[in-house]
């Protein structure tokens, strides 16, 4: 079974009285354990495609199947439950809850899954230690650098061992060193937890680090190395 299968997926947006396709008739299959980079210039449809893959948005046409579950027609509640168990998200920036500490932010997906407190504490402590973030466990996101925040966001995305990690421009606002840390973190966790990783980026530094690449332009796949 594939991790993700998209068939003839289309998503249109309306601006004023003009309708344009952000994703236009896209079909692709992502294998389990595959590391796929969606690349392309700004406005090419990378984020929209990623949102459709994560059931954060609904296609106007076509189907999205994730780990065998049809997401394009799932109810909001069912989609939320699916994300809770099987997906991890890393956004471009500002994705941590500012009122929670680093430990609490990372713990959040486990709280939603109603894991017991001792297991949560142990899992989060281990993960933060592995990522070298233990000393920041009691800190609030406001006290962290941009690179540290993204690494915490990655930790939160994988703490519940989802099948798939979706990352939307995770290094866009980072300098070279921080971007390297974040990518190293994603790669090491993906290997360790056998994750399928789908990452949208226009950062040329990332292209070479991924085994598979799909290039998008104007919502269409124009180049595929899968």
């Amino acid at each position: 079974m594939s991790a993700m299968t998209l068939k003839e997926v289309t998503r249109r947006f309306v601006t004023g009285n003009r309708s344009f396709p952000a994703v236009d008739n896209v079909s692709l299959t992502v294998r389990r354990g595959q590391r796929l980079a969606l690349v392309g210039p700004s406005g090419s449809g990378k984020t929209t495609l990623l949102n459709l893959m994560g059931a954060l948005d609904r296609p106007d046409g076509g189907t999205v199947q994730c780990l065998g579950v049809e997401l394009s027609t799932a109810s909001e509640r069912k989609a939320a439950d699916f994300r809770r168990k099987h997906l991890g998200f890393v956004f471009q920036q500002d994705a941590l809850v500012p009122e929670l500490t680093v430990h609490e932010n990372v713990e959040l997906p486990l709280v939603l899954l109603r894991e017991d407190a001792a297991m949560r504490r142990e899992t989060v402590d281990e993960l933060l230690k592995a990522l070298g973030l233990s000393q920041n466990a009691r800190a609030y996101p406001g006290a962290l650098s941009a690179g540290e925040k993204q690494r915490v966001a990655v930790a939160r995305a994988v703490v519940h061992s989802p099948g798939i990690l979706l990352a939307d421009e995770p290094t866009a606002n980072l300098d070279g060193i921080s971007a390297g840390w974040v990518l190293d973190t994603i790669e090491s966790l993906a290997r360790k937890k056998d994750l399928t990783v789908i990452l949208a980026t226009h950062d040329a530094r990332i292209f070479g680090r991924f085994e598979s690449t799909i290039r998008l332009e104007d919502g269409r796949i124009v180049e595929s190395h899968v």
Binding site: N51, G54, L56, E76, R77, A80, F89, D94, L112, R156
Partner: protein
């Protein structure tokens, strides 16, 4: 919100205090919170009842009981004649519950037991002053009395139409048309109807027991009107509060679209987002309500201790002429009703922002943030 709820608690306490003062002033001038009346009967029989009718079973609500004899008579001076209602009373006991002793402007309040104490209106009509002699005429006899004091309550009908003598002096009269009265004064906050039931069970067959709203319907209506006005004001303030909460919450939710979108992306259900916002609104409102109620209650207690002199606004109002000082009093209803209403308003006000946050697509919220 805390300030508004605190203000409502204080205003509620003032309203209760105003009602208390109006009732207290009215019942003190008339027949207490609960009155028993029997008659007409001969003076001897009325006096026998004054001496022999028991107190009845102890009732924590009853602060005191006054026994009186009432009859009508004519007062005649050298210059004029005027009708009057004579209340024969026990002066020391009366002083505890009625304002007549405090209202005496000339002379004294039964410094001599044989004196008559008359109202200022009556004294003017008959051109009497303290020390003058007045002729009291009933269908059965004529008797002269010395005017020992002149009271002025500010209530014209009372000052012109009611006179007092002691029970000792009345015992010498042979009046055949006398009413025996018992006036019961209740502790603050006690229910007159419940007390009436207790008194009625021990009353004599011919004694009619009534509550002050039955005897003074105009005062009861004023109290009801005051309560109704306060209810309308409380409702309006709470409605305005509700709009304020909805507005503030909607702005707060709009500021946190991205925050909620991130939560939904990691698996928080739309219903859970809505519940978080409702809970947040209720928690904020509860905290503000508790703070407001605490401050309002403290202010009301302090004000209730010192009183609020309304004489500048009530000098021509008969309901406040005897005692214009209002003592704000807290009741459970006026203390907790604003809180309960504010919580309901906050819950209702949070529904729309909660729906907005729960139903906003994650992708749209992330894109707009």
């Amino acid at each position: 919100m805390a300030f508004a709820i605190g203000t409502l608690v204080v205003l509620g306490a003032i309203m209760v205090g105003v009602n208390d003062t109006m009732i207290q002033n009215a019942v003190a001038m008339h027949a207490g919170h609960v009155a028993g009346v029997a008659g007409p009967m001969r003076m001897a029989e009325a006096m026998r009842r004054v001496r022999t009718v028991g107190e009845g079973p102890p009732d924590a609500a009853v602060a005191g009981q006054l026994r009186r004899c009432r009859f009508t008579a004519m007062l005649q001076s050298d210059r004029a004649t005027a009708p009057t209602t004579i209340w024969a009373v026990a002066p020391e006991q009366e002083s505890e519950f009625t304002p007549i002793r405090r209202s005496v402007r000339e002379g004294g309040y039964f410094e001599r037991p044989s004196d008559l104490v008359i109202g200022a209106g009556c004294a003017r009509e008959l051109s009497l002053k303290v020390g003058d002699v007045v002729l009291l005429t009933t269908p059965s006899e004529h008797r002269e009395f010395r005017v020992g004091g002149i009271f002025d309550t500010g209530i014209d009908r009372f000052d012109a139409g009611v006179s007092f003598m002691t029970l000792t002096a009345a015992a010498d009269l042979n009046e055949p048309q006398v009413y025996f009265e018992r006036a019961f004064f209740l502790e603050p906050g006690s229910e007159a109807v419940e007390t009436r039931e207790g008194i009625a069970t021990t009353a004599q067959v011919d004694e009619r027991v009534s509550t002050w709203p039955e005897l003074l319907p105009e005062v009861a209506q004023l109290v009801d009107l005051n309560t109704f006005s306060m209810t309308i004001m409380t409702t309006l303030v709470v409605l305005i509060l509700g709009f304020g909460v909805a507005n503030a919450l909607l702005i707060s939710v709009m500021d946190r679209y991205r925050h909620f979108a991130v939560l939904k992306a990691i698996g928080v259900r739309p219903g859970e987002v809505a519940r978080v916002i409702l809970f947040e609104a209720l928690l904020m409102c509860l905290a503000a309500s508790l703070l407001g109620t605490g401050l309002g209650a403290a202010a009301s207690l302090v004000w209730g201790h010192y009183g609020l002199d309304l004489s500048a606004y009530t000098s021509s109002n008969p309901h406040f002429s005897v005692n214009p000082v209002v003592y704000p009093r807290l009741t459970a209803m006026m203390m907790f009703a604003p809180q309960a209403l504010a919580l309901c308003a906050a819950a209702l006000a949070a529904v729309w922002p909660a729906i907005v946050a729960a139903s906003r697509p994650v992708s749209l919220a992330m894109r707009e943030a």
